[in-house]
């Protein structure tokens, strides 16, 4: 390996780590819902992409940050709808029921996007696209740094929300002891719905950031983001928000590293192998949260 290859390898990993910030944002949403309800919402990434699509309605009338804000709001609305359709009236004691309903919702959202847009890729605006940082032979994308920053802000914001607000207290109580929380006057349904709305707000932001990072929105995004989000959630530790952030960056970096070394057709094999290694040797993930009293 000559110096040029080494520079390329480092740049590849750097690009992957930065791009992994979009996986982190999706992973946070998965982990938040799992942390509260112990359920996987497989429609989360599709709803996030859907929210980004909905924000395109205002794209020609408002500045780019407002487009992202609209995506976040739409994500909140979609999150609530997903909760209502896939969780609220289904028997939560049966884990397969909600799993299958969210798979159905994933496909329904993907199909809806395909039909409404005729499957056409849509241009999505990016911020700081030309604000790239060049350090010697290395190149850091400004827009991905922005996504990374948003991920960090989301992590801090969510942690504060969970630790310092009444909603956060209720969320943690429902997650740990739902019956006791109910006896203390906390509404399980309203807490769950709030969690979905918060995760949805974040999901909308994640969808917008993914769209901005790629530059294009397409229904093709829903499935890879779902897979990456799940991998990140498991590696980071189910229910751990900092874990999702770190795991997103690791998965992004590993993906590019394996692609550089072994090529695109073998890349995903190694990423899945990484997941397998975690499942076998560290099933709780990197930041396994402390279990509840139950």
């Amino acid at each position: 390996m000559d110096l040029l290859d080494l520079i390329d390898l480092t740049q590849s990993v750097l690009d992957g780590v930065l791009f992994g910030a979009t996986y982190s944002l999706i992973g946070i949403g998965f982990t938040l819902i799992f942390g509260v309800m112990h359920k996987i919402n497989l429609a989360y990434a599709a709803a996030s992409v859907g929210a980004a699509y909905l924000s395109l309605i205002v794209v020609s009338h408002v500045p780019v940050p407002v487009v992202y804000l609209v995506a976040a709001l739409m994500g909140g609305v979609l999150g609530w709808l997903v909760y209502l359709i896939c969780f609220r009236f289904l028997p939560l004691s049966n884990p397969l029921a909600t799993l299958m309903s969210t798979v159905g919702m994933l496909l329904a959202i993907e199909e809806l996007i395909s039909h409404l847009t005729q499957g056409m890729p849509m241009n999505y605006p990016a911020m700081f696209q030309s604000a790239n940082i060049e350090i010697g032979s290395f190149f850091i994308r400004g827009d991905l740094l922005f996504v990374f920053l948003i991920g960090c802000v989301a992590m801090v914001g969510l942690t504060q929300l969970l630790k310092r607000t009444r909603l956060g207290l209720a969320t943690r109580a429902v997650a740990q002891q739902p019956v006791a929380a109910q006896l203390c006057g906390m509404g399980i349904n309203s807490t769950n719905a709030s969690t979905f709305v918060i995760a949805g707000l974040l999901g909308g932001t994640a969808g917008a950031m993914a769209g901005a990072a790629i530059g294009v929105l397409s229904p093709l995004l829903a499935l890879p983001l779902t897979v990456k989000g799940l991998v990140v959630t498991v590696i980071g530790g189910l229910g751990s928000i900092p874990g999702a952030i770190v795991a997103g960056l690791i998965v992004g970096g590993a993906e590019n590293l394996f692609q550089f070394i072994r090529g695109v057709s073998e890349r995903d094999i190694y990423v899945m192998l990484l997941l397998f290694v975690f499942l076998v040797f560290r099933p709780g993930g990197l930041f396994s949260p402390p279990g509840g009293r139950d």
């Binding site: 993907e110 890729p121 994308r141 790629i214 057709s265």
Partner: protein, 402 residues
């Protein structure tokens, strides 16, 4: 006198009623042309646009009086399109369903090469081979573009352009008009049959025309990060970059190229990307992209066909794929009349056989850009031209001599 005129009047009324009933009966007679392809899923636009083009052609034919059947009666053409989601299994199911109908004499489709290959595989390979229990049903493909597919069965026919000819021609043109271009780099969507096969053609033609092939970048249909691939491209610093990918990843790569400031002297794209999808996804980054295509609204026929599909749905645009579906309906109408197809359940197998023979006997058909030749292995030799992305539209860059 009064009685006489009453009788005359009632006779006139009866005659008029009978005539009206007859006309209504003729108008009610329908002949179905089936279509199948990806109408949903991520490449659903192909099937939606093919169906719209078939419907647009049928509307024009019906407005002009419909199709004349073997017994001299007139029938309306009715289009029924089945969705295969670009999935081989669903494509096979769609064909089996179509073939089991007692009003199906021919079908147009499918849209995806990965569906066409197994679908043609379940047809009878050789006509009249009693040891082959394959389905005996004629298919006239409009979109699936992978080279040589019609040779799989004698019941399969295609009206798709020969990408081998088109890319041979484009690289010939590059060689003569841009002799300063010396090096070539490719980009290929590795897991999509059409992109992968066409890249092989591009690479060969580039080398045959004296360009030094410096290598290729590879990605997958669902990929969202192209930084590695574009960096390889940047390092190669080739004069010509050819991207063999569908619009979503073509746009992803073009945007990454803009970020990394990769500006080849000439960009060549995949036929399927010469659509509005690419311009809508990344019009600014696609500026200058040259693609060979078998459709552009360059004459009155092509312009009116493009208008006809927009009348079905203003969001749809005519491109090389649905233009073939449009042409196929007109060709089938002519063949139905020429072969005196009866369109009755009791003549079903004979009608299918006649349609196959008619399709096999074609030496030339009418295309929107001019006459379409036919080859012995049931493929088309379509006229084509090169279009270039300019200011958010496709404009004709060159019309090669053919």
């Amino acid at each position: 006198m009064k009685c006489k005129s009453r009788i005359l009047g009632s006779m006139l009324v009866t005659t008029a009623a009978l005539a009206a009933a007859g006309a209504a009966q003729a108008q009610d007679k329908a002949l179905k042309i089936y279509g199948f392809g990806a109408k949903s899923g991520v490449v659903g636009i192909f099937g939606q646009q093919s169906e719209a083009a078939m419907q647009a052609a049928a509307n024009i034919i019906n407005k002009a009086g419909g199709v004349t059947l073997g017994d001299g009666s007139k029938a309306r053409l009715v289009i029924e399109y089945l969705d295969d989601r670009c999935n081989a299994e669903e494509g096979i199911n769609a064909l089996r369903r179509i073939a089991s109908q007692n009003d199906s004499i021919v079908a147009i489709g499918p849209t995806c090469s990965n569906v066409a290959e197994p679908v043609f595989g379940i047809l009878q390979k050789k006509v009249g081979d009693s040891s082959d229990s394959g389905i005996q049903f004629p298919i006239y493909t409009d979109v699936a573009a992978k080279g040589g597919l019609a040779s799989i069965s004698q019941w399969s026919f295609r009206n798709v352009p020969s990408e081998a000819n088109m890319y041979k021609s484009i690289f010939d043109w590059v060689k003569t008009s841009r002799p300063e271009l010396k090096t070539f780099w490719g980009g290929v969507e590795k897991d999509f049959a059409h992109s992968n096969a066409t890249y092989g053609v591009m690479k060969k033609q580039a080398a045959d025309n004296g360009l030094e092939v410096k290598g290729q970048s590879e990605w997958l249909l669902n990929d969202i990060n192209f930084s590695n691939q574009v960096r390889e491209m940047k390092r190669a610093n080739a004069d010509v970059v050819a991207i063999s990918a569908h619009p979503f990843t073509t746009c992803g790569v073009l945007k990454e190229m803009a970020r990394q400031n990769v500006k080849p002297k000439l960009l060549i794209g995949l036929t399927s990307s010469s659509s509005m999808e690419t311009l809508q996804g990344c019009g600014a980054q696609a500026e200058g992209l040259v693609i060979p295509t078998s459709f552009a609204p360059v004459n009155d026929n092509a312009k009116s066909a493009a208008a006809a599909i927009q009348a079905i749905n203003p969001k749809y645009n005519m491109d090389l794929h649905n233009a073939a579906a449009y042409e196929n309906v007109f060709t089938l109408k002519d063949l139905i009349e020429k072969q005196k197809i009866m369109g009755r359940p009791d003549t079903l197998q004979a009608d299918r056989q006649k349609m196959r023979e008619a399709l096999a006997g074609m030496t030339q058909t009418n295309g929107l850009l001019g006459a379409v030749g036919r080859t012995g292995d049931r493929e088309a030799v379509k006229p084509y031209l090169f279009v270039q992305a300019k200011s958010g539209a496709w404009v004709v860059a060159h019309t090669p001599a053919q």
